[in-house]
Amino acid sequence: MPDATYDVIIVGAGVVGAHIARQLSRYRLRTLLLDKAADVGDGTTKANTAIVHAGYDARPGSKKALFNVAGNAMFDQVCAELDVEFDRCGTYVVATSETDLATLQDLASRGRANGVTGLELISGEEMRRREPGLTEAATGALYAPTGGIVDPFALCFAAAENAVSNGVELALNTTVSRLLLEGNRVVGVDTNRGMFRSRWTIIAAGLHADDLMRTAGLEGLVIRPRKGEYFVLDRAARSQLRNVLFPCPTPVSKGIMVTPTIHGNILLGPTANDVDDKEDLGTTAAGLNETLTGALKLIPGLDPRLMIRSFTGLRATGSTGDFEISTPAERPGLLVLAGIESPGLTASPAIALHVVDMLREAGLTLQERPEYVPTRKGIPRFSLMTTAEQEALIAQDARYGRVVCRCETVTEGEVVAACHSPIPARTYDALKRRTRIGTGRCQGGFDLPLVLEIMAREYNVSPLEITQKGGASALVFRRTKEVGL
């Protein structure tokens, strides 16, 4: 058994775990952030609608409502500190019937009760003026100026990188099999890489929160995966949509929405179907069809030929219907975060602050580290620069003059930088999330051979060792030739 004893172990490096790690890195603590995947943010964080919600959806008084509104307010500062793209562009809920208009009224009053500012009900005519491609059936809309869009992966790895730069230890490819108990007390975790002991263990494991709690005898809470299927349209479709549009919500979901992404694509989805398998990330013909049909109800002119990708996300839907954030009295040393489904992304920075407060109240000594740096700088993004900036960058490092992803204009310099960032991009998917490589029209067809070569060179390994997402996801299997080099 490793003798290292951590002050805090965080199980799960999604957006919630990453923000908690970052907040804890302000203090003199030894913190370990664990994840079973080969990169941070590989669970629900990587597959959601990427919306910073205003906060009118949740029931007033719920934790969802509280942390949504508080988290939303933090986004400008958090994204500025972490060098993450965020656009507070406002969001709309579109009504297409008389019943829907009543729903908008309910949402507006709920929003005001939750403390959402600036909500405005507008006419169907005004909504169509703001969104020329909108369905003729629109009867009105609720405008929420505080809503926005963000890159959820970027937010997650930026927070995690900032935490790592401030001394948090990160262990990827590390699967927790059970919580360690001494009497009633949780004293760490058992993993595929051995046991890790800690004073506090925080479960931020998304879909798997209930499974982990069960290993410590905590029954009752159940996480049901709720599947959401999405389509991504090429940036060429961007002119077909101006705004973030939700349909009127149903009891199970906010409905199939149509939204620009922070990178200029259009995202359609999600469906909402309860499934049993927590690993069931497959798309289905029926789900994709439902997504497309739903999206076309809002924007009938969307061109499905511009589809470049489909994917599935699993919401970690908890049995209580609200976020579960607690320190179970019967298991001292354990802090549980469960059921953090939408608006979890928006809520994540506020949840992290709250978790720190809970730990402090529970007796953890938090002593500020004067050397804590709250800011983090991402790798350069060549495609977003002015020509003068691009010129200066190439002058500094010629590798920024070589474009390896033509659709998204990503350069060799960016790939190299991502290989040497505080949380190195060890897999193709990790590189993709950090640089946008392979996310465009050709979906990696052009860049993949070049990336294999660059990653192999930077990590000094054979291309045979580079995987798409860790584990057995090798990209190439063997050399074509049977003679040694």
Binding site: F231, V232, A236, E279, L281, G282, T283, T284, A285, G287, L288, R305, M307, I308, R309, S310, F311, T387, Q390, E391, I394, A395, A398, R399, G401, R402, V403, R406, C407, T409, T411, Y428, R441, C442, Q443, G444, G445, F446, L448, P449, L452, E453, P463, L464, T467, Q468, K469, G470, G471, A472, S473, A474, L475, V476, F477, R478, R479, T480, K481
Partner: protein, 423 residues
């Protein structure tokens, strides 16, 4: 930023760019500059190590690299300027080109005429929305071709290939020769998408199972592909329930169509043809942006490289003439419209005045194959001006109809011509 001016700038040095650049020089343009994103010229030809190239251009059955090098040698002999490892980032309607180059950094190029020859790209999985998981091991055939032929890595051991396009069939053979197993080639249509000789020399010669009217309906596997589910399809290409069959494999290769690469063309503001995916061009392969021409697969996807070279010559010649201001077609144009069983016609516009100078080749594809003699008719209103007989027509094989100079008079004053395939 370094600024360069020249007579003719050619973007892309595949077969189209090489032919266009050389022809521009031979037509009289002095300063011809050829840009290539790779470190050597030739574009995709360098990874097409199979033969089948050059039968018309050189009267020989050459491999892709051989075909490329015949042109590259000519380009060097002609003393054309070449900038490799250079990627164009933007083009505007004034022909101002901004590029990034590993050697020169950011550069601005201001050519008198511009030829766009970026080629085409493959449709990826996302464009098909194949349901299932998202494991490693789904590649386009061209990506696999690059990995195998240039880099020397096998992307898998047991393959299913979706689509019977030429690259897919050629890769079926290539992977077999490198010791892999191709479990199946599936084609959703009732006929081949690629050339028939590839059916013989790439599929049948190696006893590779080919399934027509069949598509992949699910990808399975968590980390890496472990199998795909294939299903038969009905006449409307919808999967038939009950016909599903699981085929174990570690790799799914896609050969499901090529799309002209036209981001720069759109950026420049050229009018596009929604059917071909390329810009609308006239008989000189001029787009509707003055001084901007299009060559090869940027205009529409060809099936033979020899045809690419030939059409690109015309674009290079027109660009040189434009740059030297000696000749540019003027006057009214006639629109060419796809009629019965014709998918699209290139060029889309013809100047009758240009036809007085030389004949004009029209290229087109049929929508559905007919394995019986047919006529390809060119009509002005109800009147047939020209007819050519074909023993059969297949979507995979481009048809050419040449307008003879004698028709120039008939075209004067016309606004629209149509082409039809009839049995």
């Amino acid at each position: 930023m370094k600024s360069i001016s020249c007579d003719v700038l050619v973007v892309g040095s595949g077969p189209a760019g090489l032919a266009a650049a050389l022809e521009a020089r031979q037509t009289g343009a002095q300063e011809v500059l050829l840009l290539e994103r790779n470190d050597e010229l030739g574009g995709i030809l360098q990874q097409c190590i199979h033969t089948g190239f050059g039968l018309r251009e050189f009267g020989q059955d050459l491999s892709g690299p051989e075909y490329a090098w015949r042109w590259i040698d000519q380009v060097h002999d002609a003393g054309l300027q070449v900038l490799s490892e250079t990627m164009v980032l933007s083009v505007d309607a004034t022909r101002r080109v901004v590029a990034t180059s590993k050697a020169l950094g950011m550069i601005e190029i201001l050519p008198r005429a511009l030829v766009l020859a970026m080629g085409c790209r493959e449709r990826p999985r996302g464009a098909l929305a194949i349901p299932g998981t998202r494991p490693a091991g789904v590649y386009t055939a061209g990506t696999a071709q690059r990995l195998v032929n240039i880099d020397g890595y096998m992307p898998g051991n047991r393959f299913v290939i979706l689509g019977s396009g030429d690259i897919g069939m050629i890769m079926a053979r290539r992977l077999t020769l490198e010791g892999a197993e191709v479990a199946a080639v599936c084609e959703i249509l009732p006929y081949l998408s690629g050339l028939r000789r590839n059916l013989v020399q790439c599929i049948r010669d190696y006893d590779i199972p080919l399934h027509l009217c069949t598509t992949v309906t699910e990808v399975r596997g968590q980390d890496r592909v472990t199998s795909v589910v294939v299903s038969g399809v009905d006449a409307d290409r919808r999967p038939l329930p009950g016909t599903e069959r699981e085929i174990p494999c570690d790799t799914l290769l896609l050969s499901v169509g090529l799309v002209p690469e036209n981001e720069l063309t759109r950026m420049a503001g050229a009018s596009m043809d929604a059917v071909t995916g390329g810009p609308r061009v006239n008989e000189g392969y001029a787009t509707d942006i003055p001084g901007i021409f299009a060559a090869g697969n940027v205009v529409h996807v060809y099936d033979l490289v020899d045809d690419v070279s030939q059409a690109a010559r015309i674009a290079g010649r027109s660009a040189a003439r434009y740059a030297c201001s000696t000749q540019a077609p003027t006057g009214p144009t006639v629109r060419l419209v796809a009629g019965e069983n014709v998918r699209a016609v290139v060029p889309q516009l013809v100047h009758p005045a240009a036809l007085e100078q030389e004949s004009i080749a029209l290229h087109m594809r049929v929508r559905t194959p007919i394995e019986a003699p047919v006529n390809l008719d060119l009509r002005l209103g109800e009147r047939t001006l020209l007819s050519r007989r074909f023993r059969y027509v297949r979507p995979a094989e481009m048809l050419t109809l040449t307008l003879p100079q004698r028709l120039a008079g008939e075209l004067a004053g016309a606004t629209e011509l149509s082409v039809h395939v009839r049995t």
